[in-house]
């Protein structure tokens, strides 16, 4: 019920929204919870396990009961806290975890079976017969569990991430946070003030009190006005700081447009739904306030039962009385304010019950002292409570119960770096451990200081202290006059009695469950949590953990301090995956690298494939070709018979210069490069320090102190980091400099019998066998551009790689392919490149898969005996020199099917196909149009000793089981006449 003229949002614009299909009117500034309460709606959701009817418990993000789904279709957002969702015109919200409706939920039958569904029941049953678990029990349990539902469609809304930096991050904008921000702001420090709520002010928006003789909210507005005028202060509302990480890194979630109607214009189409902030703060003031805790008593979970502070917030901030006959039940002085404010607003008080015999008297209401609430009635809305005191029990008609078991400081962020909070007997609550998070100072209620006066003072003091760590001098402003009423509490965790008294409302954990866990020796607080699921709901125990461990302490005869706490871990509030993963949806997961030939290739029918971050052409489909194999076969034959052009720019290229360049190369490669002549290229092999092959490639010597190394595409980054490691860590004495020139040069392979003619026709210099013998390199000019030419081959054909600065790559590729086509050749892609290299027995990372040695590859001869090199020592371990190791061979099909299959395993023909007989596996296969049959490379135990043998090749997944012949891995032109010719 809305009280006319009451609250801070009165006079706001009216907004229409719907809940469970019914239209309601709310007011600008309302949360869904305040608007529903204003409309007399209390039944909002159902609990997790027993599907108990539930209402609104709190007025903040810790709400465990009033979780709803917002939005429709793909935009459906489950598990939104009604206490946090602001209403807007057209808002659509629904209850969850109920069927057919929140009022009539079939699964509420669970509640009747509750005696059999207590703590840990599932560990003790559902075991017979075993196969029924997956078929029956588990599906039933899964369907019953869970809260809201996802839409099932991909989330296509925009989200974003951002970084922020500051001297001082102030978390929370209540009295402590505002004073901290003001103090730091006036001192000129770089300040971020982050507030989870849509409006700054914290509890000052919910209380009827004065600061400096003004209503508290007026003081808030004045402070905010000053802060807004300071360039060095950033105010962030709707921004929850979610995690504290090392070296002052904080995460925060900003709800950018939860409070706005869905975008309907182009202008707002890109508006992010949320922004995930990474804040690097040199110091922090945590002023996150405190969270009020319920009291456990029988049936304390009914709609209409709320925390006392929430009732006050709805009344004072939103002008809503959550009932017409309200009862208060408390164990502390602070809660009496609820009765005082209700009376002042003219709301009828049914009773004020305080468990303390020495509770203070109220001015405008009478207090029943030394009494407790021991039961309630009213299935979908509270109807009565039962009062118990020395004179017996009495039922009281009431439609709303405001309860308070005291306040828990919001210590959560102080625990994110593993510190445990400290028990404070005076306020019967845990308070932060000093120094829990380096650079963080805690102030106000979060620090256990529960008066406004103390919060203001600590906020200012915390800012001075925090900035002091940074060498920034700040002065605390004059302290405003404010309420300093004592808090006074006498602990009351659970009212003794029969029946079920809830601790964790959402997960349906009761006092009995915790007691039973203790009885079954789940006495460690972690065991109790895991056995009962206490504290594992969406509020992560914010409402219930302290009471639960008090109950556990009682059941095990220990103090609360001895019992200890479970760990609060990030995030402080549940955080959308989409926000933390912003930018990665669709194609955004990793950057895209494009070749200079990309556009030209597409025009020529290229089918692209991802190679690491690059896109490369797999093959170029010509008219009439309907399968990749047709294109691939043609391209292979084109290279063997005419000339082919392939963009090889993805290979890593590293420019190496300096007096010690040769020394560095001799260190990194197994073979010698100091002896390489200028103008020549050499193939090299490099090892990891554990002796296995890291990478291979060619390196050209362009000058006395100048080399250009090429790496495989896959290992380019790894090799660059390795070079840096060697030159900075292992051999900082070497005077050598290197840089990646991969993107500087566009480089194209031109391969085939007509390659020389093609190149010679294009470049200014004369190209023939004498000027450019096999493995020569040099500078050339092509089309007026200075480039480089390398006579190297990965196809076994007479071939070149021609390189030009990347801006000319597109034009040169186009020119090369056009010229090649005129000679019966053309462009070729990765598929043909792969077949060509298998025909020659050249290896790629299909073979260099991190588990092979030079010995395995038959390349032990490449490890120079004249020098040592990186990785050589461990490559010579006994186990790596076994003849029986799996070693590189070629395979030719022998069976009728003429098939080979990559990933197949190899066996002796007469042995059974089982692991113990496994001899090896196939790394690469392809159809060789040159030879007219399939060919493959394999790693085979003692492979080189088996040349000519027959082995059985089995690939269960492709249904291939065939014989093949073990052959030398070089299938084509083993003498190398073509490449040299």
């Amino acid at each position: 019920m809305r009280i006319s003229g009451k609250g801070l949002i009165s006079g706001g614009r009216r907004v229409n929204f719907s809940f469970n299909g019914v239209s309601y009117m709310g007011q600008e500034g309302d949360t869904l919870a305040s608007a529903l309460l204003a409309n007399g709606v209390h039944l909002v959701g159902r609990s997790f396990k027993y599907h108990r009817p539930r209402g609104i418990l709190t007025a903040g993000s810790e709400e465990p009961n009033a979780l709803v789904s917002v939005g429709k279709g793909a935009a459906q957002d489950p598990n939104i806290r009604a206490t946090q969702q602001e209403v807007f015109e057209g808002l659509v919200a629904r209850s969850q975890n109920c069927w057919p409706s929140v009022g009539h939920d079939v699964m509420a039958l669970n509640d009747l079976a509750a005696p059999f569904l207590g703590a840990g029941f599932y560990y003790k049953t559902f075991m017979w017969p075993a196969p029924l678990w997956e078929k029956l029990y588990e599906p039933v349990i899964r369907r019953a569990a869970g809260l809201g539902a996802l839409s099932g469609s991909a989330n296509t809304e925009p989200y974003e991430k951002a970084f922020a930096f500051c001297d001082l991050l102030v978390i929370g904008s209540g009295p402590a946070g505002l004073m901290a921000a003001l103090t730091a702001g006036r001192a000129g420090a770089d300040v971020i003030l982050a507030e989870d709520d849509s409006r700054m002010g914290g509890r000052l928006l919910a209380e009827m009190e004065e600061i400096d003789d003004k209503p508290a909210h007026v003081w808030v507005a004045e402070v905010l006005a000053e802060l807004a005028g300071l360039d060095n202060v950033r105010l962030m509302t709707r921004t929850a700081v979610t995690g504290a990480f090392d070296q002052g890194t904080y995460s925060a979630l900003e709800r950018v447009s939860h409070h706005l109607p869905p975008s309907q214009s182009l202008k707002t189409a890109h508006r992010p739904r949320e922004c995930f902030w990474r804040i690097a703060a040199r110091a922090t003031v945590l002023a996150a306030g405190a969270i009020e805790r319920p009291v456990a008593f029988r049936n304390n979970d009914r709609p209409g039962i709320m925390t006392a502070g929430a009732v006050r917030a709805y009344l004072n901030r939103w002008g809503v009385a959550p009932g017409e006959r309200i009862t208060l039940f408390a164990n502390n002085d602070d809660a009496h304010r609820t009765a005082r404010d209700l009376v002042a607003a003219g709301v009828h008080i049914a009773a004020v019950i305080d468990s303390r015999h020495d509770a203070p008297d109220g001015r405008d209401f009478s207090v029943i002292k030394g009494a407790v609430v021991c039961n309630t009635s009213g299935r979908k809305r509270l109807e009565t409570i039962t009062l118990r005191n020395v004179s017996g029990e009495e039922k009281i008609q009431t439609d709303c119960l405001a309860m308070s078991g005291g306040w828990n400081p919001s210590v959560h962020l102080t625990c994110h770096m593993n510190a445990r909070p400290v028990w404070n007997r005076d306020i019967a609550a845990f308070v932060p451990r000093a120094g829990a998070v380096p650079g963080m100072v805690v102030a106000g209620a979060a620090n256990g200081s529960l008066s406004t006066h103390a919060a203001l003072a600590e906020g200012a003091g915390a800012a001075v202290a925090a900035l002091g760590q940074l060498g920034i001098t700040a002065e605390a402003p004059a302290l405003p006059r404010a309420c300093d009423a004592p808090y006074r509490i006498s602990p009351l965790w659970a009212v003794p009695g029969k029946g079920r008294a809830w601790l964790d409302f959402q997960n349906d954990v009761t006092v009995k469950d915790v007691a039973q866990a203790a009885q079954e020796n789940f006495r460690s607080v972690e065991h109790m949590k895991r056995y009962t699921t206490q504290g594992m709901a969406t509020d992560q125990g914010k409402n219930s953990n302290v009471a639960a461990l008090a109950v556990l302490a009682d059941a095990t005869g220990r103090s609360i301090a001895e019992t200890g706490v479970t760990t609060f871990r990030p995030p402080f509030v549940p955080t959308t995956i989409a926000a933390m993963g912003a930018g990665a949806a669709g194609q955004g997961f990793k950057p895209q690298r494009y070749l200079t030939s990309h556009r030209t290739s597409l025009k020529r029918g290229a089918a692209n494939t991802e190679v690491g971050l690059w896109y490369r052409a797999s093959y170029f489909a010509k008219e009439g070709e309907t399968t990749w194999r047709q294109s691939c076969d043609r391209e292979v034959m084109m290279v063997r018979n005419a000339v082919g052009v392939c963009d090889v720019s993805t290979l890593g290229k590293i420019d190496i210069k300096g007096p010690d360049a040769a020394k560095l190369l001799d260190l990194i490669y197994t073979n010698l490069f100091s002896t390489l002549k200028i103008g020549r290229v050499r193939y090299g092999l490099m090892l990891r320090e554990d002796g296995f092959v890291m990478d291979d490639g060619t390196t050209a010597r362009l000058g006395q102190d100048h080399y250009v190394m090429t790496t495989t595409t896959a290992a380019a980054g790894q090799v660059m980091a390795h070079l840096e490691y060697l030159s900075q860590v292992a051999r900082p004495d070497l005077d050598v400099r290197f840089t990646s020139v991969t993107d500087q040069w566009a480089q194209f392979a031109v391969a085939g019998p007509k390659a020389r003619a093609l190149i010679d026709a294009l470049v200014a210099e004369e190209i023939n066998g004498e000027t450019y013998p096999f493995m020569a390199c040099g500078a050339i000019t092509v089309g007026g551009v200075a480039g480089r030419l390398f006579r190297i081959s990965f196809s076994g054909e007479h071939a070149y790689e021609i390189a030009v600065p990347a801006r000319y790559g597109e034009a040169l590729f186009d020119l090369l392919v056009t010229r090649a086509e005129a000679e019966g050749g053309g462009a070729y892609g990765m598929e043909a490149l792969n077949v060509l290299r298998i025909e020659k027995g050249f290896i790629t990372h299909a073979e260099i898969n991190g588990t092979v040695t030079a010995f395995d590859l038959g390349m032990q001869g490449m490890i120079s005996k004249k020098k040592s090199c990186w990785g050589k020592v461990l490559s010579e371990r006994d186990g790596l020199m076994d003849e029986d190791r799996m070693r590189l061979v070629g395979l030719k099909p022998k069976g009728a099917a003429q098939e080979l299959s990559a990933g197949a395993h190899l066996f002796e023909p007469d042995m059974t196909v089982e692991r113990v007989n496994d001899l090896g596996y196939v790394t690469s296969v392809g159809f060789s149009p040159t030879l007219g049959h399939m060919i493959g490379l394999a790693m085979l135990s003692a492979g080189p000793d088996r040349l000519g043998d027959t082995v059985r090749l089995v690939d269960h997944t492709r249904g291939v089981d065939t014989l093949c012949e073990v052959v030398d891995p070089v299938f084509f032109d083993p003498e190398g006449g073509r490449v040299r010719g």
Partner: protein, 421 residues
């Protein structure tokens, strides 16, 4: 039957009707004795399973498990609960195969429902190279006698239509399906073994940190603990995450670095993911718990750490991988993140072996793979401790393989840098 009695549906009914007053402790809290035949250091999944199988398979009774905190408080209580047998290198293949078979009878064996759910695991691959490597793996699994199927894009799409097939930076090409793989309720595995071991008379001693290992004449003779010295004929180390620290008590330096691996769970949601799904790109793995939370993880944080808490950059990477691969679930909200301490070895595979000290046995180096290994690790370690010979399914887990280079099991081919597995 031990202290807690036998569990059954009937007992749940009976206790429910009588106010659940008859439940008794699942295990005792005994005072440590002065001497044991075997002292197991570490009351996690592997230590508890070892104790259970030492008692059940080898008839030993005078056994203590010493735990510095609470039972099951280490990695068995902080993982992503995945059970599978899809390794491909000899040494690993037969071991994880053995483990999966033990999993399949575990609940009846222990009389404890660990909610072992053989919901199937899908290892998604994205390109030709990954496909061929996956097929090599699938064949190895089948050759070992376990199940594996390759599903290509269209088949996969029928089974899990909500993945990003149409607009993915790394298109989904297919997946390896192992139907017998799945998940289990991690805590319950530890509790089930603890209760089982307790029923055989094993002393489970919590809050009992081992502070020293006593060696005389090259032979272990006992341990020093926070609760006093305890003599032992044999001492078995199963303290994953702290293996290096514990082994150092006996003067051993291990080939292990400790690294943090994060895990994540979202708020509860109605069923959306029915399998365990892993992705070769981004190293993401994700499933949905019976309670409705999406459970997932990806890489290590990559730096040495004993902090059991994670780094924001890796959290973001993990969420980015979900946004890329499973965009239908990104409205789910991350509820909790935590970290486990991983024993990372130079080849990514574990160690179950003797040590140079007689009577001192080592079970360590589980890297990411410890949870799924729990039954076989306990089973094979118990065999080694009881017989001084390796179990047939665990002959490959030698401590000296790094020195000799013989029998290295580098499934990912990333080499001897500990954090790259």
């Amino acid at each position: 039957m031990g202290i807690s009695g036998r569990f059954s549906g009937w007992r749940v009914l009976k206790e429910g009707l009588t106010g659940n007053k008859g439940w008794t402790p699942h295990w005792r809290d005994p005072e440590p004795k002065r001497e044991y035949d075997v002292v197991i250091v570490g009351g996690g999944g592997h230590g508890l399973a070892t104790a259970y199988y030492l008692a059940r398979e080898h008839g030993l009774r005078n056994i203590a498990v010493l735990e510095k905190g609470y039972l099951g408080g280490g990695n068995v209580g902080r993982n992503t609960t995945i059970v599978r047998a899809n390794y491909y290198l000899p040494g690993n293949s037969e071991f994880y195969s053995h483990s999966l078979r033990l999993w399949e009878g575990l609940e009846q064996d222990l009389n404890y429902n660990a909610m072992m759910s053989q919901r199937g695991i899908l290892n998604v691959f994205h390109n030709d190279g990954q496909r061929d490597a996956t097929i090599r793996r699938a064949n190895a699994i089948i050759n070992q006698g376990d199940d594996a199927e390759i599903l290509y894009r269209d088949q996969l799409r029928q089974m899990v239509p909500f993945l990003n097939y149409d607009n993915n930076r790394f298109p989904i090409m297919g997946a390896l399906l192992q139907r017998r793989a799945g998940t289990a309720r991690h805590d319950a595995v530890a509790w089930g073994y603890a209760r089982g071991a307790d029923q055989f008379g094993v002393d489970l001693i919590q809050n009992c940190e081992v502070t020293g290992i006593d060696v005389a004449g090259g032979r272990v003779v006992g341990v020093q603990t926070a609760r006093g010295p305890i003599k032992a004929k044999k001492v078995a180390l199963a303290a994953a995450g702290r293996s290096g620290q514990v082994a150092a008590l006996a003067g051993l330096t291990l080939p292990i670095e400790s690294h943090v691996l994060q895990a994540f769970v979202t708020e509860g949601l109605k069923p959306v993911i029915d399998h365990v799904i892993t992705f070769a790109e981004g190293h993401l793995y994700i499933s949905q718990s019976d309670k409705g939370g999406l459970v997932f993880g990806s890489y290590l944080d990559f730096y040495s750490s004993y902090a059991a808490r994670g780094n924001l950059a890796m959290q973001e990477h993990t969420m980015e991988a979900i946004a890329a691969m499973v965009p239908a679930v990104t409205k789910a909200r991350l509820l909790r993140s935590w970290g486990g301490i991983m024993d990372m070895t130079p080849d990514g595979s574990p160690i179950i072996d003797h040590t140079p000290i007689a009577g001192l046995y080592l079970n360590a180096g589980w890297c990411y793979g410890g949870f799924k290994a729990t039954p076989a690790s306990g089973h094979c370690f118990a065999h080694l401790i009881a017989t001084d010979r390796p179990h047939a399914a665990a002959t490959g887990f030698k401590l000296d393989r790094f020195r000799t280079g013989r029998g290295l099991m580098d499934e990912e081919g990333t080499g001897a840098q500990h954090n790259l597995h």
